[in-house]
Amino acid sequence: MPRLNNPRVTLAIIAVALVLPLVIQNFLTFQLTLVLVYAIAIIGLNLLTGFNGQFSLGHSAFYAIGAYVAAMLMDKADFPYAMTLPVAGIACFVFGFLFGLPALRLEGVYLALATFALAVATPQILKLSPLEHWTGGVQGIVVNKPEAPFGLPLTEDQWLYYFTLLITIVMTVLAHNLVASRTGRAMMAIRDNPIAARSMGINIALYKSLTFGVSALYTGVAGALGAIVVQFVAPDSFTFFLSISLLVGLVVGGVGWIPGAFFGGAFVLFVPNLAESFSKGLSGAVYGVMIIVLIYVLPTGAAGLTRAASRWWRAKA
């Protein structure tokens, strides 16, 4: 797998990311911010699916919990927006860990069904009338867009972009280090051969539940950021199809390769719009064909492409 171990490439990418919002329009900046948000969520899914081999169709639920925790804290408790992220992350970690415990007994499609149930149940629970006081029911919650602090000469969109970028870099580095650590190797050992992993003394139940928790934490932070960026949460933004989008992003970016999440995030945000510009009526068909063609041409996603490119580069040099 290609890794973020070439500091020059990494620094160049970060430099471009820093300059970009100064030269592009506000709406595009907003979209790029959302790409980063999706990327964080996809990293979370990748930790679970790509590195630990557990299948989830339920990550829209964690995203929703993160988003609602952030929105409710800002709306009801006047929390500063940056402070909502750790709270949302911890809430999702606990929830994910607890959900991971019964899910331990389930494998493959059965785990998929359990997580799927979670994804389908979440919007319904959020709409529930007894909870309407906190969740705003079907209408959802509107939150204010934060302004740039310290009198920085940035628009709100630009500031949010930089804020999200900072969080994204931190989360990416953490995920990268986690995967490279002893814990990460244990996660992968469980994915590759659970029985061998157990005989090496790895506590499978603990690591699987922890991975579920960490994965939910990432997705929850993404959800909280998403709520701040979009300024709005409503139950119907977090349906099963969000889970599907994240899965598509994961496959497109490359399963088991962390930087792939950025390709995946860009894919799920931009490609449906692109498909719509080809043909209004057939946008879904164009999107579907694009996914299938991509799987044919690049079965390992952006990861395989990057690997091939870097091999070509080295051969040339």
Binding site: V255, S283, I295
Partner: protein, 292 residues
């Protein structure tokens, strides 16, 4: 007591819908080992075909037979063209391809036949079957069709050479190939059959949920739940699983106060997950043993 009985019967009637689609899901799972997320959309597309044929003036049962045949061919074609090239790809690639298929079929149906809700005829009529009207004729017909379908499948897999060959290639592809079974074509055949079963399910469901490109979304979710609950290895289990989902959903909606009505699907799913935690292979599935 009468309310309970009535709700159970109504649950069985809706459960039959889920059972039909669960049956199609199990067919695909048996032949290629994956859950087909596009199964519902394939059924929806077939139902639109039937609607079009009826609009062109064909009698119902002719259109029915023609649709089943066309869907079978369509299923085989999809397997040959779309899935054959990736049959060794990992699970997630399959999921992505199924999602692609789902998007394509949904969008195509909307493009060709638009998104307006259309009524779909029933061959059984809608008069109440018995005097106090627990279930109507269409629901009874639906149950009958499902039972026929199940009997047909049972006979097919038990007593015909092709059925036996399909089971063999699902069970042990390598040995099946060694005795001369064309394993690849068996998968295509399985897809065709799943598409045909889906078409029957779609045509049975359409008079109740009405015809439109998104008609199958909800049904597919219940179908999945039923298939997994019954155990993905057993067609009869899928049917029973679908029926249980229907009954549990109905009873939860009626008898659990306050949140029951709003959360009936959630409650049904929660019960299913609880059952799965107790019995991870589904109610009628056999545990899968791995050689170490």
């Amino acid at each position: 007591m009468e309310l309970l009985l009535q709700q159970i019967l109504a649950g069985i009637a809706t459960g039959t819908i889920y059972a039909c689609i669960a049956l199609a899901i199990v067919m695909t799972y048996q032949t290629i080992g994956h859950l087909n997320f596009a199964q519902g959309e394939m059924a929806m597309f077939s139902t639109f075909l039937a609607w079009q044929l009826i609009q062109w003036g064909l009698p119902y049962w002719t259109a029915f037979a023609l649709t089943v045949a066309l869907s079978f061919a369509g299923g085989v074609l999809i397997e040959r063209i779309v899935l054959r090239p990736i049959h060794n790809a990992p699970v997630l690639s399959h999921v992505a391809v199924f999602i692609g298929l789902l998007a394509i079929l949904n969008s195509l149906a909307g493009f060709i036949w638009d998104f307006n809700v259309k009524p779909f005829p029933t061959p059984f009529g809608t008069a109440p079957l018995i005097a106090n009207g627990f279930i109507d004729a269409h629901q009874a017909g639906m149950i009958a069709v499902t039972i026929l379908l199940l009997a047909f499948l049972y006979g097919f897999f038990r007593f015909t050479r092709v059925g036996l060959a399909m089971r063999a290639s699902a069970n042990d592809p390598v040995s099946a190939r060694l005795v001369g079974i064309r394993v690849g074509w068996m998968a295509a055949l399985g897809w065709g059959m799943a598409a045909a079963i889906g078409a029957v399910a779609g045509m049975m469901i359409a008079p109740i949920v009405f015809l439109e490109p998104n008609m199958m979304l909800g049904v597919l979710l219940y179908g999945f739940a039923g298939a997994v609950l019954g155990g993905l290895g057993s067609p009869a289990g899928a049917v029973i699983g679908g029926l249980i989902v229907g009954v549990v959903e109905n009873l939860a909606g009626t008898f659990i106060p306050v949140v029951g009505g709003e959360l009936k699907f959630t409650i049904a799913l929660a019960i299913i997950v609880a059952v799965l935690v107790m019995k991870p292979q589904g109610l009628f599935g056999r545990p899968v043993l791995h050689r170490v």
